[in-house]
Symmetry: C2
Subunit: 108 residues, 2 copies
């Protein structure tokens, strides 16, 4: 179990956390908590809480340097979300075959 699936779902369910994550991916380098919070109107402590949830879901890697705590986006846990979605992708156009059959196939 790499990172709890539910934590990942919960993490990305909040728009502010998605924004933080997006900001970090865009930055493609580590940003400190203060730097991140400057992009938002909510308090630093509010941002810290969001960052911790993202970290606990594995979506942010953290390193400390002196008094600063740096955050780096880690997209890998999103793979679990994509896997979940892809289970249903086959139905986007139309029912080709029941998902039940599909799962039976995988268990053979």
């Amino acid at each position: 179990m790499p990172h709890n699936l539910n934590k990942i779902f919960k993490s990305i369910a909040d728009p502010t956390r998605r924004e933080i994550f997006h900001l970090l991916v865009l930055a493609s380098s580590a940003l400190s908590i203060t730097q991140i919070s400057q992009h938002f109107e909510i308090s630093r402590q509010g941002i810290t809480k969001h960052i911790r949830m993202l970290r606990d879901a594995g979506l942010i890697d953290m390193t400390e340097k002196g008094r600063e705590h740096f955050c780096l986006a880690n997209v890998k846990p999103l793979k679990a979300i994509q896997d979940w979605v892809q289970l249903y992708e086959r139905f986007w156009d139309n029912k080709l075959k029941s998902l039940g059959d599909h799962l039976d196939q995988k268990n053979k």
Copy 2:
């Protein structure tokens, strides 16, 4: 805006709702609220609330027949989730190119 992205994220963030959705996809036919709730230990009213959230996110289509309310899974809104995830997919292996460049490209 087909269906509010945040509602979709919030809907699938709850494990019970994911189970309900999965059940409906597996069924590949409409199930009544009572039928659905029989698969769970929580009360019918609890299930009803979850079903409404899924419906409001577009993940369940509902039809009434007599006194029964039937639910059918609709996977289309999941496309929005996949689109969101795919924005970051390119980073799963490694940074090929920054997301910023990628977005610039799309806006040309």
